[in-house]
């Protein structure tokens, strides 16, 4: 009887599964192809590979043309995330508490890089920083990436800040905490999930960013996306697939580490359970 009455509920569930499945294939299939090609034994890109080997992986891991940019990207990502967090946290607290005038305008301004084409911003930064001789110094790259990643930290921290009971800080004040101590012992620990999640986003955005890096990096400061682009422009070999695999694995390792340390779903929900 039950089998004869699948009904709209079962059909809806089937449709949902189909939808999710198709979406997953669209997202994951190209990645899977890249990861498989990375292990090819051929000296050209073909799918499926005629045979398997680690030669391309070994080649890129030993190639300074890839490893130097990879290190640059990691350092840049860490620095950009750290600076963005240091700037975004006080801004988020001020905006969230509405302790400054124009807090809505300030928020819109700081989030603006999200809706600005990265290439336009990169050009603007290039012209601007060139005046100070910083255009390709590495500092320009950092400044550019801080501007781009700041909105991600700001948004996640702001979401947590807005969820905080304002009387928590007031209670700390009445109990004898100066503003600085109340910030360190109450606000900051409660914002931590948002700061960690936001900085993680910031790192990942910086790690993958191309437009600003392309215009503001030099031969010594080139990031991994720039190096990959340069390589692809001149050769079409499986080295690109191999370095892509290295990059994907690195990101997965970062995510797994954070998952172990904090629990990612809790971070992404970025909300502190209220007392």
């Amino acid at each position: 009887m039950i089998a004869l009455l699948p009904g709209w509920r079962a059909r809806r569930r089937l449709l949902a599964a189909l939808y999710v499945g198709v979406a997953a294939i669209f997202i994951l299939a190209p990645l899977a192809v890249v990861m498989i090609v990375a292990f090819t034994s051929a000296s050209f890109v073909s799918f499926p590979p005629p045979g398997y080997s680690l030669r391309w992986l070994a080649k890129v891991m030993g190639d300074a043309a890839f490893m130097r940019p990879l290190l640059n990207s990691v350092l840049l990502g860490l620095a950009a995330a750290a600076v963005a967090a240091v700037l975004a946290v006080p801004a988020a607290v001020a905006i969230g508490r509405r302790s400054v005038r124009w807090s809505a305008e300030l928020e819109a301004f700081l989030l603006a890089p999200l809706s600005l084409p990265a290439l336009i911003m990169a050009l603007a930064l290039l012209f601007f920083l060139a005046r100070f001789g910083l255009a390709t110094s590495g500092w320009g790259l950092l400044i550019g990436h801080v501007v781009i990643t700041l909105p991600y930290v700001l948004r996640t921290v702001l979401a947590v800040q807005r969820g905080l009971d304002a009387s928590l800080v007031e209670a700390a004040h009445v109990l004898g905490a100066t503003p600085a101590r109340a910030f360190l012992s109450v606000t900051l620990p409660l914002l931590r999930p948002g700061i960690v999640a936001g900085s993680l986003f910031a790192f990942l955005i910086s790690f993958d960013e191309l437009a600003v890096a392309l215009l503001l990096s030099s031969a010594t400061t080139a990031t991994l996306p720039v190096a990959i682009l340069n390589h692809v422009a001149h050769n079409y070999d499986p080295a690109v697939a191999a370095i892509s695999l290295v990059k994907i694995v690195l990101v997965i390792v970062v995510l797994l580490t954070l998952e172990r340390l904090y629990g990612l779903d809790r971070l992404m929900l970025s909300r502190v359970r209220r007392a």
């Binding site: 928590l168 209670a171 004040h173 109990l175 004898g176 905490a177 100066t178 409660l190």
Partner: protein, 352 residues
């Protein structure tokens, strides 16, 4: 005894609205004063001014003669329990309770001992390592109380401390708070919109309306001899009679189509508009129209049995008056013609 609180001429404005409009209040050491009033009357703002969470626009606040009105909250050394309790969710109960001591740099051993004593005071022993989210509402309230008391502040501020609890717990905590306050002899200000709560807990009730204090007195005085019609109507229930004073010392109440005798010394000149208020429990419902005493004839509209009392609604002309009698007394049936009587001195009269 320590902890005398003097509030003098306090004014607090938000933009063009005046939240607290020149409040002067003395809280004797070791006593409990309730700030009672409807929402928006300024009672919470006044409490925040005392705590230092809102800046004064005028006036002064002094504890034992020392003006604290200009100090930031962290230098006032007062205790406060917030309406939401505001327990730090990332700390255990013990860490919450120790927070004030930590800010004062109290030694670790002494802090542990004082936290244990404070938690014992509110009967939260054994809950030291729990997080606030693992406590019931009543336990959270006790934890917030322990946190406020651990530094032994001269004055304790309670903002609607019982409003988040269910009715049964609220009644129990009311007595418990009162008992604790007496035992510690700590000067306490409690903000509440619940007149029963204010009456049950406080030595002195300050009834607030529109940023001002209408009356400060003992609960009994506030109830029996309200200074203003607002106080009379906010504290307890009343029946309203409005009319014009006559030459014979009566109030001609058009709505009931009759005259009621005014008490001695009512202060109304002939022809003046007056407002008279009567408490429901001062009205006697009589089947036969007796002699003497001020009274009004009417017809019973509704009889509501409420356990320990019976509420009788009587229509007198266009007005419906409420009389409350002890449960178990003889009650008339709806539709019955009755006579409402009261003692002349129970009529509370003000000029309009």
């Amino acid at each position: 005894m320590k902890g005398r609180l003097d509030i003098a001429g306090v004014v607090k404005r938000y933009g063009t609205t005046v939240a607290v409009d020149g409040v002067t209040l003395v809280v004797p050491p070791g006593s409990m004063t309730a700030l009672l009033g409807p929402s928006g009357c300024g009672k919470t703002t006044l409490l925040r001014c005392i705590a230092g969470l809102a800046d004064l626009d005028a006036g002064s606040i002094a504890v034992d003669g020392a003006d604290i009105g200009a100090l930031p909250p962290w230098r006032r050394g007062l205790g406060m329990v917030f309406q939401s309790y505001a327990l730090f969710p990332h700390m255990t109960v013990a860490e919450n309770a120790a927070f004030g001591l930590r800010m004062r740099g109290t030694g670790r051993a002494e802090a542990r001992e004082r936290v244990a004593r404070a938690l014992a005071l509110v009967r939260l022993e054994g809950f030291e390592e729990r997080r606030p989210s693992e406590l019931s509402g009543g336990q959270q309230q006790r934890a917030a109380l322990a946190r406020a008391l651990v530094t032994e502040p001269p004055v304790l501020l309670l903002d609607e401390p019982l409003s988040a609890l269910d009715a049964k717990l609220r009644h129990a905590m009311r007595l418990e708070l009162r008992e604790l306050q007496r035992r510690l002899g700590i000067t306490t200000i409690v903000v509440t919109h619940d007149q029963d709560e204010a009456m049950a807990m406080a030595d002195q009730v300050a009834v607030m309306n529109a940023g001002r204090i209408e009356q400060v007195a003992s609960p009994e005085t506030v109830y029996r001899r309200p200074a203003t019609p607002f106080v009379a109507e906010f504290v307890g229930r009343t029946n309203r009679l409005e009319g014009r004073a006559t030459a014979a010392g009566e109030l001609d109440v058009g709505d009931v189509g009759g005259r009621v005798q005014l008490p001695m010394g009512h202060g109304l000149v002939q022809g003046a508009l007056g407002l008279a208020l009567l408490r429901p429990e001062h009205l006697r419902v009589e089947q036969a129209a007796g002699a003497a005493a001020p009274r009004l004839a009417g017809k019973v509209v509704d009889v509501v049995f409420a356990g320990d009392r019976v509420e009788i609604v009587v229509a007198c002309g266009a007005l419906k008056l409420l009389a409350v009698q002890p449960g178990g007394s003889a009650v008339p049936a709806p539709g019955e013609a009755v006579s409402l009587a009261w003692r002349a001195e129970d009529l509370m009269v003000w000029p309009r």
